[in-house]
């Protein structure tokens, strides 16, 4: 077996541990403290934000326009509408602005 294969295998095991690990730790406790529960409820917004925020550092007018439209559509539409609207604005604007 090549080194590459072992890297992939070890990477896969490490990744699976992160995906199952949080549950294994939490499930050891019979009751979940309200503060821990509050923390868990904050997870989606907290993590997903970190995948967007640093992108703002090198976002130009095109990217900002796409994000603003995405946010506006979110007030009314569902996830699909949001995504398509944002992507459409981005791709259209890039044809002209570059």
């Amino acid at each position: 077996m090549s080194t590459t294969f072992w890297i992939i295998l070890a990477g896969a095991v490490a990744t699976y541990l992160t995906r199952v690990g949080g549950h294994l730790v939490i499930s050891r406790f019979e009751t979940i403290h309200p503060r821990v529960e509050a923390g868990l409820n904050a997870v989606p917004a907290a993590v997903l934000t970190t995948l967007v925020a640093p992108e703002l550092l090198h976002a130009g007018p095109t990217e900002w326009a796409a994000l603003v439209v995405t946010a506006l559509v979110s007030l009314r539409g569902g996830l699909m509408a949001m995504f398509l609207a944002g992507a459409a604005v981005l791709i259209l604007a890039r044809q002209f602005v570059g």
Partner: protein, 242 residues
């Protein structure tokens, strides 16, 4: 018999309801799968290895980082550690979604955790929050198309190399941020949403500038979660439940 047929029909409906929700994810991740395959071969992976990496790790950002370091001939253990670091955020997803799927049979849970990606978590969590059950069939309908397309497209990218002519004009580099912003906004009715988002955004940007990628993800996430933990429970709406 009748009850069985009904429950089967409902299970089928659940599956397709999940598939429908998976479509934006399939669209948004396709360019990245192709790009990953291309870069993987560029950096010395064989087509089979690129395919295997997507099939076994199934985490886009971590695969990109792994490939990049591999191409720079970094020590193997460091490549693995970096993959672990990029994927570390899943620990939080795992703890969160575990509350929703703990009643599944163990084998189903094992599969469920394997396909626990960012959108998978966010969409399942949103469903749980709206009071609907997160069943295995629905969850699989949501996750399976994303997985299958991800693996196949990684292979295609590896085989056809520079398949994507002008990634910038197609906005490919920015499709995921748009998608993730949509997911963040979908949670805006949660208690503490605005302060958590603000804390995570600030911390991740500062960490991105100082410590660097990929640590900004974990640092930013921890900042937001800690804020929710530290603020008194009556702000977070937790203690009110019967």
């Amino acid at each position: 018999m009748v009850a069985e047929a009904i429950s089967e029909g409902r299970a089928g409906g659940d599956f397709w309801a999940g598939v429908r929700l998976s479509m934006p994810v399939v669209v948004a991740s396709a360019p990245f799968a192709l790009l990953f395959g291309t870069i993987a071969v560029d950096n010395g992976f064989s087509v089979l290895e690129a395919f295997l990496m997507s099939a076994m790790i199934y985490g886009g950002a971590s695969q990109m980082v792994g490939i990049e370091l591999f191409g720079q001939h970094v020590a193997p253990w460091l490549v693995v550690l970096s993959i672990f670091a990029v994927n570390f955020r899943h620990v939080l997803y795992s703890a969160g979604i575990g509350r929703r799927i703990a009643h599944w049979p163990v084998l189903q849970q094992a599969v469920g955790y394997f396909i626990l990606t960012d959108p998978q978590y966010a969409i399942a969590e949103a469903r749980a929050e709206s009071g609907r059950p997160v069943g295995f069939v629905w969850y699989l309908g949501l996750g399976l198309p994303v997985y299958v397309f991800w693996v196949i497209e990684s292979g295609l990218g590896a085989v056809f190399g520079k398949l994507i002519p002008n990634t910038h004009a197609l906005g490919i580099d920015f499709l995921l941020p748009i998608y993730f912003l949509g997911l963040v906004l979908g949670f805006r009715k949660r208690p503490l949403w605005a302060p958590v988002v603000a804390a995570s955004a600030a911390a991740s940007i500062i960490a991105y500038r100082t410590v660097g990628s990929p640590w900004h993800v974990s640092i930013g996430a921890v900042a937001g979660v800690l804020l929710a933990v530290i603020l008194p429970p009556h702000h977070s709406g937790v203690g009110k439940r019967p």
